[in-house]
């Protein structure tokens, strides 16, 4: 068992555990903090997948900006009524468990089986991280240059549309939360 394997197991169990805690906790502030931990674990998983740039972007965008926004909004709300997280009832609870298990099983099984289909189409895909590392991942600085080259040639239209989206979204957010008379108006 190489170190990357141990690291993968630790990080993936952390991310699944914190993800489950996000859904199961009844206090929304604790949910958001568990989500931050889950995002950081996922950034670690990106590191084991030899994508440090994506890991850095994950920390900056998700854990450092989006979730700060979530936590700020939750602290503004000050939700006092902490009722139970899920609706009551034994039969509905049982149905929820069964449904959850079925969904999980379907997706995990489908993911597991699909890999053998992909392997059947191409023989040179390495099947574990250590073997893939030996065949030579491209080093980091090259891959960032390559990503940006692709971004500006093959995906240029999508990139520009994304810029337009990032222009429209703050305008929309400001328009949604506008108070009649401006920020300094007297209510």
């Amino acid at each position: 068992m190489s170190e990357l394997d141990i690291l993968f197991y630790i990080l993936s169990s952390m991310s699944v555990l914190f993800g489950a805690l996000v859904v199961l906790t009844s206090s929304p502030i604790y949910s958001s903090l568990y989500l931050v931990m889950s995002m950081l674990s996922v950034a670690g998983i990106f590191m084991t997948l030899n994508a440090p740039f994506i890991a850095g972007i994950q920390i900056i965008v998700y854990a450092g900006a989006v979730l700060v926004l979530f936590v700020m909004v939750l602290m503004l709300f000050d939700l006092k009524r902490e009722t139970k997280a899920f609706t009551k009832g034994r039969f509905s609870g049982f149905l929820k468990l069964v449904g959850a298990g079925l969904l999980c099983g379907f997706i995990a099984g489908a993911a597991y089986e699909s890999v053998s289909l992909i392997m059947a189409t191409s023989e040179e895909i390495p099947t574990n991280i250590a073997a893939a590392a030996e065949t030579g991942f491209s080093p980091t600085t090259n891959s960032i240059k390559e990503i940006s080259k692709l971004l500006f040639t093959k995906y240029l239209f999508a990139f520009e549309v994304l810029g337009l989206l990032l222009l429209v979204v703050p305008i929309g957010a400001v328009a949604l939360s506008r108070v009649a008379g401006g920020t300094h108006a007297k209510h």
Partner: protein
């Protein structure tokens, strides 16, 4: 971590040493702040406890350790206790990933009867190929300590201070990121060591030849980033003031406004941890400014070769060789010793630059009045963001035409 015992142990010692360097620089900074502010305000600072008042900080630390542990009864105990720890961690991790000096190259040597191979030790705790992206990401995690501290204390003023402080922090991260993008366009790499290497040599404009009189005049100056990106330098410099909640941007901590902001309810060692976090962020910011705009640990090629390589390094290594000759023999010819001394001399130069910027932080704090909160947010969004965007576009155009 390394291939054999020697390398692993040296790496471990290096990690601990750099972390302790950051933590131990904080009392020095607090002393500089208290004496420096006194000097600016024409009074004495602490000067009784020990020579020049240097032991005052040790006395303060001991006093903090013995204070009563107070947790607000209505507050959220877990969040209240976690917040100071989260304040410490981002500054420490970010400081550990910035190279503080040249890598130390140790050629093969023999000790305890076995051969230890050639090593290269980078002068940082860990080396990540993405450099600045990691530092930016980890610094933005500092917003959580303020939010959790403000929420965990059951106090309206703390909550307001926390929300204001974190909103200010994420607003100025934009201008900071765009200023850094300008530098990335100029140097074309994320890695700190490559950026420092690209700042060697004399300054020159590529449009003229090397013998042109403009290039000869400019050649006196070193090839530092501040001459390529002056607007970016000003933007980054102002943004890090807002990021670390220092005056003139420290309304969330102002006493007349919000008692003490998000750390109102903290006392004792937990309050000290907030200050260590703030000074840690200041150190990271100073290190970033030194690396991007002022050549990092090098002084420019001519001064490097004349001063450092020519005089300081041989003299100091001769001194250490004569000291070590008491224990063994033959240390004068050891290139390993020269490499180690060279790394530490460059490290001294880097620390001098960092200390200069930290003094400028202290100087500005006690000179300027503070901004009102809406003026602060207006400055961040309506002034600095358009200037940063214009800087990025202009830099991109210039790089396109000059290549």
């Amino acid at each position: 971590m390394g291939s054999d015992v020697f390398e692993i142990s040296i790496n471990f010692v290096k990690m601990v040493a750099i972390f302790l360097l950051m933590v131990n620089l904080v009392p020095m900074l607090v002393w500089v702040e208290r004496r420096g502010s006194a000097f600016i305000q024409n009074r004495f600072g602490p000067n009784r406890v020990g020579p020049l008042g240097l032991i005052q900080l040790a006395a303060d630390a001991i006093k903090f350790l013995f204070k009563e542990e107070f947790i607000p009864p209505k507050g959220n105990k877990a969040l209240f206790l976690i917040a100071p720890i989260i304040a410490l961690i981002p500054g420490a991790i970010a400081f550990c990933s910035i190279p503080l000096s040249v890598p130390i190259e140790i050629s093969a040597f023999e000790m305890f009867g076995s051969q230890w191979g050639p090593y290269v030790f980078p002068f940082q705790s860990f080396e990540i190929g993405i450099g600045i992206v990691f530092v930016l990401g980890v610094s933005s995690l500092g917003a959580y300590s303020m939010l959790l501290a403000g929420f965990g204390s059951a106090n309206k003023y703390s909550l307001y201070g926390a929300l204001r402080a974190s909103a200010q922090m994420i607003s100025y991260e934009l201008a900071m990121g765009l200023a850094i993008v300008g530098i990335l366009i100029v140097y074309g790499t994320f890695d700190f060591a490559e950026m420092i290497a690209a700042q060697q040599g004399p300054l020159s404009i590529p449009l003229f030849e090397a013998d042109h009189v403009v290039n000869k005049v400019l050649g006196i100056l070193p090839n530092w980033g501040v001459f390529y990106q002056p607007v970016g330098f000003i933007l980054l410099f102002v943004s890090v003031f807002a990021e670390t909640n220092r005056l003139p941007f420290d309304l969330p901590e102002a006493e007349s406004e919000l008692v003490a902001g998000y750390h109102t309810e903290y006392g004792g060692i937990k309050m000290n941890m907030f200050y260590i976090g703030e000074y840690g962020h200041m150190m990271v910011a100073s290190a970033l400014i030194a690396v991007f705009y002022f050549g990092g640990y090098s002084l420019g090629t001519t001064l490097d070769t004349i001063l450092v390589e020519g005089t300081i390094v041989p003299n100091m290594s001769a001194l250490f060789a004569s000291l070590l000759n008491l224990f063994g023999s033959g240390w004068e010819q050891s290139t390993n010793l020269i490499n180690v001394v060279r790394a530490f001399v460059f490290h001294g130069i880097f620390m001098a630059k960092i200390l200069l910027f930290l003094w400028i932080f202290v100087w500005v704090r006690w000179t300027l009045p503070r901004f009102r909160y809406d003026q602060l947010m207006d400055l961040g969004w309506k002034t600095m963001l358009p200037w940063a965007l214009a800087n990025t576009i202009l830099t991109a155009f210039l790089m396109l035409f000059l290549r």
